[in-house]
C-alpha cells in the first residue's frame, strides 16, 4: 500500500488536547504514573498520560496479552456443558507513547503468535484493532541495548506513528497507512518544517551514539547449539532465584498457563523460571532445577527463536537488567556465551 509520508508537529502543551480527542473515538492506552510506577493504562483524558518516563516498568504487552484473561465461560449440568465465548474487544484502540524496543516486541510477538498451525486469536484480535503510536528515546538508559538486537532509539518498527521529542514540540512521523488515517483526524496539526525534521535527525544520531550498552549476539545462537550440556549453566544459574521478574517484565515473554476458575477458563502469565512450569501430571519435572530453567530462557531467546523465526527473541529493553533482585545481568550471560572459544 502506498501512502504519502507526512510529517506533522504538535506543541507539547497541545498534546493533551489531541489525546482527549483521540479518547472520544478510541480506547486509548498510555503511560500513567502512580507513585513510583509508570505503566500503561486505559485513559479517558489527555492529562492522564505521563510522557516524562525513560521506560515503563511493565511492557505494554499486557494490552494484548493481559496477565489474566478469560478465554471462555462454561456452565456444566448433568447432561451437557454450555460454552460461551468471552466478549472480544470491539472498539478500536490506540496505544500511545510506546518506546521503540516495545514496539519492536509486537513485531516479534506477531510472528510467534500468528505462525504455524495455531493462531492466538485472543492476542491477534486485539492487535488487529490497535494503532501504535511510538515515542522515540532521546535519552536511552545505560541498561538499554536495543541497538545490539536490531532496534534503535528512534526505530519505527511496529509503529503506525512515531512521536519525536524536539524540545518544545513533538514531531509526528507517519509510518503506516493506518498512522496516516489516524493523523488525518487532526486537520489542525501543523505541517513540520525542514528544521524540525533536521532537529529530530540530529537527536536520533545523538541517541544512537549515547547508547552505552552493547551486547554481541553474533554467533551466540550457533554457540548455544553446542552448549546444552555445558557446565556453563551450573555456574550461571547459581544466584538466580527463579522468580518471574525477568519474564513478567519482558516485552517478548508470553508463556501462559490455563486454568479453570468457577465456570471460567482463564489464562494467566506463566514463567519458564517457575518449577511448576514444566511439572507434569505424573510428578516428573523435565526441568527440575534452576539450571535447566535458566538454560531454557536463554535458549528460547537466543537459539530456538532464531532458528524458527530468524531473529533473537529479545529487544534489549533492559528491564530484566534493572529489576533482577540479584543483579543477574542477561548482557553478561550473552556476552559470556559470545566470547567463548569454539571447541
Amino acid at each position: 500500500m502506498v501512502f504519502t509520508l507526512k510529517w506533522k508537529v504538535i506543541e507539547k502543551s497541545k498534546l493533551p488536547i489531541l489525546i482527549g480527542e483521540l479518547a472520544d473515538e478510541y480506547e486509548v492506552f498510555a503511560p500513567v504514573k502512580k507513585k513510583s510506577i509508570v505503566s500503561f493504562e486505559r485513559i479517558s483524558a489527555g492529562n492522564e498520560a505521563y510522557l516524562g518516563f525513560r521506560n515503563t516498568k511493565k511492557s505494554p504487552k499486557e494490552i494484548f496479552f493481559p496477565q489474566t484473561e478469560t478465554l471462555f465461560t462454561y456452565k456444566a449440568s448433568k447432561k451437557d456443558v454450555e460454552l460461551a465465548e468471552s466478549p472480544t474487544v470491539k472498539g478500536k484502540r490506540v496505544v500511545l507513547a510506546v518506546r521503540p524496543c516495545d514496539a519492536r516486541s509486537f513485531v516479534l510477538l506477531d510472528k510467534f503468535l500468528s505462525s504455524g498451525e495455531h493462531e492466538d486469536v485472543y492476542y491477534l484480535e486485539k492487535r488487529k484493532n490497535t494503532a501504535i503510536v511510538g515515542l522515540a528515546c532521546n535519552h536511552p538508559l545505560s541498561t538499554c541495548f536495543c541497538t545490539s538486537l536490531g532496534g534503535s532509539p528512534f526505530g519505527k518498527e511496529g509503529m503506525d506513528l512515531l512521536l519525536q521529542d524536539i524540545n518544545d514540540k513533538y514531531l509526528i512521523e507517519t509510518v503506516t497507512e493506518r498512522g496516516e488515517k489516524l493523523i488525518e483526524k487532526f486537520p489542525w496539526l501543523k505541517d513540520a518544517e525542514k528544521p524540525d525534521i533536521e532537529k529530530a535527525k540530529k537527536l536520533s544520531e545523538d541517541a544512537e551514539t549515547a547508547m552505552r550498552s552493547k551486547v554481541s549476539v553474533d554467533g551466540v545462537s550457533e554457540k548455544l547449539d553446542e552448549m546444552f550440556d555445558d557446565p556453563f549453566w551450573d555456574q550461571i544459574c547459581q544466584k538466580c532465584l527463579n522468580c518471574g521478574v525477568c519474564t513478567f517484565l519482558c516485552p517478548t515473554c508470553c508463556c501462559f498457563d490455563i486454568l479453570d476458575e468457577e465456570g471460567k477458563r482463564v489464562r494467566i502469565w506463566d514463567s519458564c523460571q517457575f518449577s511448576c512450569f514444566t511439572l507434569q501430571g505424573s510428578g516428573h519435572n523435565p526441568r527440575p532445577s534452576g539450571k535447566e530453567r535458566m538454560r531454557q530462557r536463554i535458549m528460547h531467546k537466543f537459539n530456538y527463536f532464531v532458528k524458527n523465526y530468524g531473529e533473537n527473541f529479545c529487544v534489549g529493553c533492559g528491564r530484566c537488567v534493572q529489576e533482577c533482585p540479584v543483579n543477574l545481568d542477561i548482557r553478561e550471560v550473552v556476552g559470556a556465551i559470545s566470547t567463548r572459544k569454539g571447541e
Partner: protein, 316 residues
C-alpha cells in the same frame, strides 16, 4: 569498608585453604552502580572478587538453605538471624555453615535514590563514610547516606550479627531509640475500612512474579501452597482477591520467623511495601510471646510448639 573487605577475603582464604569449607558465599561487584551481586567462591585465587559495601543488600542466607556442602557465608545481622532460624528449622546441619558475621551500618535503598532523582539515571556512584556521591548525565550530587538507607535498616536492633562463627570487623553501636513499629502503629490506628483500602491499593500492583517469596530464605517449601494444583487451594490470577490471599497467607507462614531483613520489599519490581504486613506479625509475636526470631539456636519458634503458659484467651 576496605578494611572489612580485606578481612572478609582473608577469612575466606583461610577457610578455603584449610578446607574448613567447600564454598564461600559473599558479594561481588554488580553490573550497575550501587549494586552488588551474590558471589560463589570455591577457589582461593577467586577470593579477591569478594567485596563489602553499603550495596551488599542480598540476603545470602537464601543460598545456604538446602545446601549439602560446607559453606562460609558473609552475613549481616539480619542474614545471620535468618541462618539461625533456618538452622533451628533443620534446613541444613548447623555445623556445615561458617557464619562470617559482618557488623552492618545499613544498606542503601536504590529506590529512594531513584525517587530523589526523578527519572535521572545514576551512572556512577561512590559511597564514602556518610555520603553517597552520585553522578549521571549532566548532574552530580552528594547525598547523606542515612537518608537513603532501607527502611528496615533504619530501625534495625541487631546490626551486629547475634550469632556468628567469625566476626569480621569491629562491632558497631546498636540503634536503641528508634521505634521499629511506628509504621505498624500508625496503620493500626486507622479504621478497618481504611486499612483494607490501603492494602488493596498496595497489593493491586502485584504481578505475581513471586520475587518476594523466592528471595525470602524462609520460603523454602518444596511445593509452595500457591503452586499446588491437585487441588489448587489458591487462585493464581492477578485479580485482587487472589493476590491478597497469596500475600496474607505468606505473611502467616513467615510469622514468628521473619526478622525484617527487607529483602521482599527490595526485590519487588512494583515497589510494594511488603514489609508492612510482616512487621505487623513481628509486633504480634513480640507482644504475645516476647519473641524475636533468629536470636537463638536452641529456642523453638513459639508458633512451632505448644506451652501451657501460651496466651490462649480465645478459649472461652
Amino acid at each position: 569498608m576496605e578494611n572489612i573487605e580485606n578481612s572478609i577475603r582473608e577469612v575466606a582464604e583461610k577457610l578455603l585453604s584449610e578446607k574448613k569449607v567447600d564454598l564461600i558465599i559473599g558479594y561481588e561487584r554488580g553490573t550497575l552502580p550501587l549494586r552488588t551481586t551474590p558471589c560463589f567462591v570455591d577457589k582461593v585465587e577467586d577470593v579477591q572478587k569478594l567485596v563489602w559495601n553499603a550495596s551488599c543488600d542480598a540476603n545470602l542466607s537464601k543460598y545456604v538453605v538446602g545446601r549439602k556442602e560446607k559453606v562460609g557465608v558473609v552475613a549481616k545481622g539480619c542474614d545471620a538471624r535468618l541462618i539461625a532460624v533456618c538452622a533451628v528449622e533443620k534446613q541444613f546441619p548447623r555445623e556445615n555453615v561458617v557464619i562470617m558475621g559482618v557488623p552492618c551500618l545499613g544498606v542503601i535503598d536504590r529506590k529512594k535514590i531513584e525517587a530523589k532523582l526523578e527519572g535521572k539515571e545514576v551512572l556512577e556512584a561512590v559511597v564514602e563514610d556518610e555520603q553517597i556521591k552520585v553522578k549521571g548525565e549532566s548532574f552530580e550530587l552528594v547525598l547523606p547516606k542515612n537518608d537513603f538507607l532501607c527502611d528496615s535498616c533504619l530501625t534495625c536492633k541487631h546490626r551486629n550479627p547475634p550469632i556468628h562463627d567469625v566476626l569480621v570487623g569491629e562491632k558497631v553501636p546498636e540503634i536503641t531509640e528508634a521505634n521499629e513499629f511506628a509504621e505498624v502503629s500508625s496503620l493500626e490506628s486507622k479504621s478497618v475500612e481504611e486499612r483494607w483500602k490501603h492494602f488493596e491499593e498496595e497489593l493491586s500492583k502485584c504481578i505475581r512474579c513471586y520475587a518476594c517469596r523466592n528471595v525470602c530464605p524462609l520460603c523454602y517449601c518444596k511445593m509452595c501452597f500457591v503452586d499446588q494444583s491437585m487441588p489448587a487451594w489458591f487462585g493464581k490470577t492477578n485479580d485482587l482477591s487472589d493476590t491478597m490471599i497469596y500475600h496474607i497467607v505468606r505473611a502467616f507462614h513467615v510469622a514468628g520467623r521473619c526478622v525484617d531483613c527487607g529483602a521482599c520489599s527490595r526485590a519487588c519490581p512494583m515497589d510494594i511495601n511488603l514489609r508492612e504486613l510482616m512487621k505487623k506479625t513481628e509486633k504480634i509475636m513480640k507482644e504475645r510471646y516476647g519473641y524475636e526470631a533468629g536470636l537463638s539456636l536452641e529456642e523453638v519458634p513459639p508458633l512451632g510448639e505448644f506451652k501451657m503458659e501460651d496466651p490462649q484467651e480465645f478459649i472461652k
